[in-house]
């Protein structure tokens, strides 16, 4: 059985936020403007967490992209009274927007704070409407939204593979964040396929789960930073 997942190598993340922009543009996430952003209503599905430690001159900074972790035991799923968020057989934490009634219980229960409440009807002033992705629905106000691992790209790859009478190849699916990342931070793939690049990276001794002790079984695996290694052979 396929279990889609993402490996994120934080050692390579420069914090450039190309992934943040790509996620928004691919998934028709609208901007909300200065006043609403000031109220905390900006709707990025992916954020760069900055951890700043110390004060001048001894300061260190780490960047970490955080999106929906597509948990195997997702705290957001059982609290939804209308089954708007559910788990797919392929490991995705999915949303049915038309079911969502906006209780926000799911966001309240998400330990990663990656769910975004949409306060707005779709508003893409001309000519921004022309850059909407036709493969992704626009959402109305009053519903929750979040990263889908660019499920439309997964569907597209599966349809293409089926039409060509073959399986989806490892590396064939690249969510928008992975496509935009020049540092190749993101590796998407089937974590249950022992031969996939993602599953091999997930077996690294550097692999970590965010808040793994909560038992949420995230589908996102982080490779933690490495130290400068000028010559040993055990990196």
């Amino acid at each position: 059985m396929t279990r889609w997942g993402m490996v994120v190598d934080t050692d390579r993340c420069t914090g450039c936020e190309a992934c943040v922009v790509a996620s928004a543009e691919e998934n028709n996430v609208q901007t909300v403007g200065e006043e609403q952003a000031r109220m905390g209503r900006a709707m990025h599905w992916l954020r760069i967490e900055r951890t700043v430690a110390g004060t001048f001159p001894d300061v260190s900074v780490k960047f970490r992209p955080v999106m929906c972790q597509h948990c195997g035991e997702a705290p957001c799923e059982p609290v939804c009274p209308v089954y708007a968020t559910y788990h797919t057989e392929q490991g995705l934490n999915a949303m049915v927007y038309s079911r969502c009634v906006g209780t926000r219980f799911c966001a309240n229960n998400c330990p990663y704070t990656v769910r975004t409440f949409n306060w707005f009807d779709p508003d893409f002033p001309e000519p921004l409407d022309r850059q909407l992705n036709p493969d992704v629905s626009v959402r109305s106000d009053g519903i929750m939204e979040k990263c889908t691992f660019c499920v439309q790209r997964i569907h597209d790859a599966r349809r293409t593979a089926a039409a060509e009478d073959r399986e989806v190849e490892d590396g064939e699916i690249r969510p928008a964040c992975a496509s935009a990342c020049a540092a190749e931070v993101f590796t998407f793939g089937d974590l249950d396929d022992a031969e996939s690049r993602a599953s091999k990276l997930a077996a690294s001794p550097r692999a970590r789960h965010l808040l793994g002790e909560l038992g949420t079984q995230p589908g996102v695996v982080y490779l933690e930073d490495q130290e400068w290694n000028p010559g040993s052979d055990d990196a």
Partner: protein, 588 residues
């Protein structure tokens, strides 16, 4: 086309650091006629932008160059740094960033050296000193490449051992001597080190000296067939697609020599009224022009003054053939239009060709459109082996075999000018910088970039002034407060970001605010910090000095700013911990 029209020297508007880096490269390479900018006149050759073999290096020292934030090729730099960190063959490389302000590059680096503004040249010389006295400079090269004796560093800057030691530089640079000595040792022991220069270090009054010293460090670590080590110098005649007339004037030189008044001014995809300091005279020059004709895909501060606007395709509506400079290889990016033009617009190259033909220069401009001109230019330069621009467009890019511009070794000794004055008592040192999202301002018209949280401050929809914790305490400032920043030249109003990584005694402000026009998302948003800059230049060049001015801050009151995560931080917990995948324990 400018020449065909009888223009008195077309002016190339580039970021100030590019002007300084070209000048330093010309000195380093010994390019004829470039060493003395005051005497070289309009027809002087321009030095190439420096490129760096970062991906092939195991130790990257950048003195001032925030090459991941902006620079000339930030995407390539990002890819290259991912190779350095890929731990190939069991080795993971190191990035050391020496920079007064913690840029995104410095935040990403393994080690940040927060050097005092304006002392980057001293730091580079001290590193050279420590490398020399430790006997770590490399004089021979495997592979038979000749390296001059004495070395290029000695010819340009004198005996490195006679320069400042780590102890002598420590007080100037406000960097511990041991850190300088250790970095020098690490650099000397690395298998393939590279040193980057320019960037923000080129913005100061001593910027050319700092850039030259940083670039020249590479000559201490030559590689096989590469006497400048990881530094690459690719000749413009190989990197470009069209012939370089060789008479392009830098914007700094044009400003120094006086912009022509009363002439017809053709402005092609550039906005000097916003991106050059007001003190440089573009407002007066354009105000006195007989006519202003702008080729632009967007209304901006310069086009709003135009008598005629010839609207252009946007980037995704046009055929693209770009030969980027500042890479470690000769490359051409080519792409067909991604979408049909939304409005009745044209490709800028097509307009220029049509203008030239209409004015009677058809013989010199035999191509039917820009694509044909670029195709012919590509074939003339890279056509061997069946390469073509059409194939490059299909593949997305074309990379040619490297061809370097070797140093002549006939370089002139560089004598830096006297130290600049700097900030006075009670003043803060102004550090202007290009942020990753706004750049020199050209990103400000895009709502998704306005709403993108800044890399470190997470400010959205506005500019900001980074102030140290100590500085904020003494002025009773909190993040979000509005302040007036005043210099001898002018003043602006901007919200404050109190930052733990900000250097005490400085205030850092990104470029990109204060457009009078540039669309609904940029217009009237904040002030232009270039209004704080006078007509001081980087010594040895005509480029404006964007850092080093003395400024004062005055609190105006609380402001209304959008800061990503502020509400979350106030109201909720943002997780920050790691845990091993099989752990039930606490955060790592």
């Amino acid at each position: 086309l400018g020449l065909a029209l009888g223009a008195t020297g077309p002016v190339l508007i580039e970021p100030p650091e590019a002007e300084v880096e070209r000048s330093a490269m010309a000195r380093l390479l010994g390019l004829s006629g470039v060493a003395e900018p005051a005497a070289r006149g309009a027809a002087a050759a321009r030095g190439p932008l420096p490129g760096y073999d970062i991906a092939g290096s195991d130790y990257v020292l950048s003195i001032g160059n925030a090459f991941l934030d902006r620079g000339h090729q930030p995407v390539h730099g990002t890819w290259a740094m991912s190779r350095v960190r890929a731990a190939r063959a069991g080795r993971r490389g190191k990035l050391v960033q020496a920079e007064s302000r913690m840029s995104q590059t410095a935040a990403f680096a393994d080690e940040w050296i927060p050097v005092r503004p304006g002392t980057e040249a001293v730091l580079a010389r001290a590193i050279a000193h420590e490398v020399a006295v430790a006997g770590l400079a490399r004089s021979g090269v495997d592979g038979g490449t000749e390296v001059s004796e004495p070395s290029l560093w000695v010819r340009l800057l004198g005996d490195p051992a006679a320069g400042p030691s780590a102890e002598e530089a420590a007080a100037d640079c406000d960097v511990p001597a041991e850190q300088i000595r250790r970095v020098a040792r690490e650099l000397g022991h690395a298998e393939a080190p590279v040193v980057l220069g320019g960037g923000s270090a080129a913005f100061g009054p001593d910027g050319e000296h700092a850039t030259l010293a940083a670039l020249a460090l590479n000559a201490l670590f030559p590689r096989a067939s590469a006497p400048l080590g990881g530094l690459r110098a690719l000749p413009a005649e190989r990197t470009g697609l069209l012939d370089d007339p060789g008479v392009l004037r830098s914007s700094g030189a044009a400003e120094r020599d006086g912009l022509p008044a009363g002439a017809t001014c053709l402005v092609v995809e550039t906005d000097p009224l916003h991106t050059r300091p007001a003190a440089r005279g573009w407002g007066e020059a354009l105000g006195g022009a007989a006519a202003i004709v702008c080729l632009s895909s967007f209304l901006d501060d310069t086009t709003r003054l135009a008598d005629v606007i010839l609207p252009l395709h946007s980037d995704i509506e046009r055929f693209v053939a770009a030969a980027p400079e500042g890479l470690d290889r000769i490359a051409v990016s080519a792409a067909s239009p991604a979408v049909r033009p939304l409005y009745d617009t044209r490709h800028p190259g097509d307009i220029l060709l049509a203008l030239g033909v209409a004015l009677g220069h058809a013989e010199a401009l035999p191509w039917q459109d820009f694509e044909a001109a670029a195709t012919a230019g590509f074939a003339a330069r890279h056509g061997e082996g069946g390469a073509s621009l059409a194939r490059a467009a299909d593949a997305g890019s074309f990379v040619a075999s490297p061809a370097e511009l070797p140093p002549t070794w006939d370089v002139q000794r560089y004598e830096p000018g006297p130290p600049a004055g700097g900030a006075g008592d009670g003043e803060l040192v102004l550090l202007l910088f290009e942020s990753a999202k706004y750049g020199d301002g050209r990103g400000a018209n895009k709502p998704w970039l306005q709403e993108l949280p800044d890399t470190l401050t997470t400010f959205m929809w506005s500019s900001w002034a980074e102030v140290s914790v100590a500085g904020a305490a003494s002025l009773h400032l909190e993040t979000g407060d509005l302040v007036e920043v005043a210099s001898a030249r002018g003043s602006i109003t901007v919200p404050v970001a109190v930052r733990p990584e900000a250097r005490p005694g400085t205030v850092a402000i990104p470029l990109g605010g204060g457009y009078r026009d540039y669309g609904r998302y940029a217009r009237g948003r904040g002030d232009n910090p270039l209004d704080l800059v006078g007509d001081e230049t980087v010594a040895g060049t005509a480029a404006p000095a964007l850092v080093g001015a003395g400024v004062t801050l005055r609190r105006l009151g609380p402001g209304q700013v959008a800061i990503y995560g502020r509400g979350l931080r106030d109201a909720e917990h943002i997780p920050t911990g790691w845990a091993p995948m099989d752990s039930g324990g606490t955060h790592g």
